[in-house]
């Protein structure tokens, strides 16, 4: 069951009773503030075009109110778009019949909600089996699968508790177990980790990465945490006022932020864990010196390896072990601490 890419094309969402009437005005440049003031409609999304990689993790970031939850709800059509399409495996989700949509939601998608949205009258176990129960999977089978995920998210022993007997972070993990138990191609995670403490958060990131290694689902992951985005995301899109301001890989976004908004966004990031050695190496002149570093290694690991080996110089080698560039410890350190690229850009 290979997962496919999700193509979001020319998507607009205008909240309000006559949203459709304003699409053209928005296309001609009517802004969010003006639309709200003059016409009392809220611009949720405008002109969204994103290709979410098949079997990869698509991270969506942006400030509060920028439209992240609105976007992710379009993928399983909890929200109907005002204009545009959402294609999965060539089918426009927005045009599915009620029946097809229900089947699509049952078998192709699973969602973790920002506000958990657990069923308060069901225990942890009964919440976790919900998706399978709706699909009509037998009780024994679904409970077996549910227990596996309850254990994996660290909630063993709480199977028979009710949601409001659990802490926020525990409830969020029930939501996660509920979605994972569904074993769907598409995993929609709306700030799925926001209520978790740092340790469990890293553990849950590992769960997701392990899952991806094996099962390669198409994951849409919303987060406010850039480090998390960089760790998980094969691709990152940043939203502002319902518009995509930049999309690309983590490296691209950290090294060449499109504008001041994104610069502000990436300022606090741990660059040593994002930038690869080949990004800052200089061309080889003469013989390769010092220790070899594999392509794709991040600066932090390179610095650790070099200080561990007490060497000051190193060279980068490609997959075949051929040297392709050189760098030294001071270069690495300065790239880790100063955001060269956009500092330079501003100076220029």
């Amino acid at each position: 069951m290979a997962s496919h890419a999700i193509e979001v094309k020319n998507l607009y969402k205008i909240f309000g009773p006559r949203g459709g009437d304003y699409v053209d005005a928005v296309k001609r440049g009517l802004g969010k503030a003006e639309l709200n003031e003059k016409h009392g409609h809220v611009l949720g999304l405008q002109d969204i075009n994103i290709s979410m990689p098949a079997g990869g993790v698509m991270v969506v970031m942006g400030l509060s109110g920028s439209g992240k939850s609105t976007l992710i709800r379009h993928i399983n059509r909890l929200i109907d778009p005002t204009a545009g399409e959402v294609l999965y495996d060539g089918v426009d989700v927005c045009k599915m019949s009620d029946n097809d949509l229900r089947e699509f939601r049952r078998h192709k998608t699973a969602m973790v909600f920002q506000k958990f949205a657990l069923l308060p009258h069901r225990t942890v176990l009964d919440n976790t089996v919900y998706g399978l129960e709706i699909q009509g999977v037998g009780k024994a089978e679904s409970e077996k699968r549910a227990r596996g995920w309850i254990d994996r998210v660290g909630l063993q022993g709480f199977e028979n508790h009710y949601p409001n007997q659990l802490s926020g972070g525990m409830q969020q993990r029930v939501g996660l177990a509920r979605a994972l138990t569904n074993d769907a191609d598409i995993l929609l995670m709306d700030e799925a980790y926001s209520a978790l403490d740092p340790l469990i958060r890293v553990d849950m990131q590992t769960v997701l990465l392990d899952l991806q290694k094996e099962l390669k689902k198409t994951v849409v992951f919303i987060t406010h945490d850039l480090d998390e985005a960089l760790r998980l995301g094969d691709k990152i899109a940043i939203l502002r006022d319902g518009r995509v301001v930049q999309q690309g890989t983590g490296q691209q976004i950290v090294l060449s932020p499109a504008d001041d908004y994104i610069t502000a966004f990436v300022k606090e990031v741990n660059r040593g864990r994002v930038i690869n050695v080949e990004t800052i190496m200089r061309p080889l002149s003469g013989n390769p010196e010092g220790m070899p570093l594999a392509m794709g290694m991040v600066l932090e690991s390179a610095a650790r390896a070099m200080t561990g080996a007490h060497v000051n110089a190193a060279h980068v080698v490609d997959e075949n072990g051929r040297p392709i560039g050189a760098l030294d410890l001071p270069t690495i350190i300065s790239a880790m601490v100063t955001p060269t690229s956009h500092e330079d850009k501003r100076a220029a």
Binding site: E103, F113, Q165, G168
Partner: protein
């Protein structure tokens, strides 16, 4: 006043009522039409409500004919099972024994049978209508005014058409009671479903629940406490109405009260009144405790 009327035109002074002849004609037409309708469909209507009659007779027979000790044990069992509360259970046993001692056991059984059937029918009618109302704003805007009329119309008034259609007896009494007691059932079912958290419903949708699955798995269970409050209200209103319904031939405690009023039997009136209060409290406390037990999942609130 006369002085004002001398300057005002007569039209603005004395209300220009439609003249008596017209009203009389309209009244006669409506009354005759209704009587005609009853004459031609009376048999059909009787056949339709016949099962009610059987059910009512059967239950009344069962309540009255069973040995009192058996009824008492079953009642105490039901109350304990419903409330899981020893005080309520003991209270029930004591009130029933007191009722028996003053010689009102049989009448109480008749009233209990009546209230039980009325409540069951109200639930059977009320919940589906409440669900329909919750699903559609249009249905709600049609049903709500009807409920307003049903709840404010003096109960004696709708006894008139009920008697005209069904005559005197238990079934017309039952219908009158149900008309009076069903509105809170409908309203609170509607309210309970509408109050269900949108986010939980969204989650149910996201997993592909059908409308029926949503109703069964999410809306009804979460609306249940409110629905239980509706059932409680319905029981209380049935108990109040069985007294009025005794005017059209319902037996039991209500009938005794009616006779006591007619004959100024002070003690008899109050004894029967207290018996009614006794079973009202039993029903009320039991159904409330049962409702609270259903909300067990929300007992421990955690941030």
């Amino acid at each position: 006043m006369a002085s004002i009327c001398s300057v005002l035109p007569a039209l603005l002074c004395k209300f220009p009522a439609i003249d008596d002849g017209t009203i009389r004609l309209a009244r006669k037409t409506i009354d005759d039409g209704f009587k005609g309708f009853v004459r031609s469909y009376g048999d059909a209507i009787d056949t339709v409500v016949q099962p009610l009659q059987w059910f009512l007779n059967y239950l009344e027979g069962a309540f009255v004919a069973s040995p009192w000790i058996l009824v008492l044990i079953v009642m105490v069992g039901v109350v304990y099972y419903g409330s899981r509360n020893v005080n309520i259970t003991i209270g029930t046993a004591l009130s029933m024994i007191a009722i028996g001692l003053v010689g009102l056991w049989n009448d109480t059984m008749i009233t209990l049978a009546m209230v039980t059937v009325c409540t069951l029918i109200s639930i059977l009618i009320g919940i589906p209508i409440g669900i329909l109302m919750a699903r559609s704003d249009r249905v709600q805007s049609v049903v709500n005014p009807v409920l307003d009329v049903m709840q404010t119309m003096p109960s004696f008034v709708y006894l008139i058409p009920v008697v005209m259609i069904f005559g005197i007896g238990k079934v017309p009494g039952l219908i009158a009671v149900v008309i009076y007691a069903v509105p809170p059932m409908i309203r609170l079912t509607n309210l309970g479903i509408r109050l269900v958290d949108q986010e939980v419903l969204e989650a149910a949708d996201a997993f592909g629940s059908s409308a029926w699955q949503k109703l069964k798995n999410v809306q009804m269970p979460l609306a249940l406490p409110t629905i239980m409050a509706g059932i409680n209200q319905t029981i209380m209103m049935s108990l109040a109405m069985v007294v009025v319904a005794s005017m059209i031939g319902v037996g039991g405690l209500g009938k005794n009260v009616l006779q006591a009023i007619a004959n100024q039997f002070f003690t008899v009136g109050f004894l029967n009144g207290f018996a009614l209060v006794g079973i009202a409290i039993i029903f009320d406390r039991t159904s409330q405790a049962f409702g609270r037990r259903l909300q067990k999942h929300s007992e421990v609130i955690h941030g």
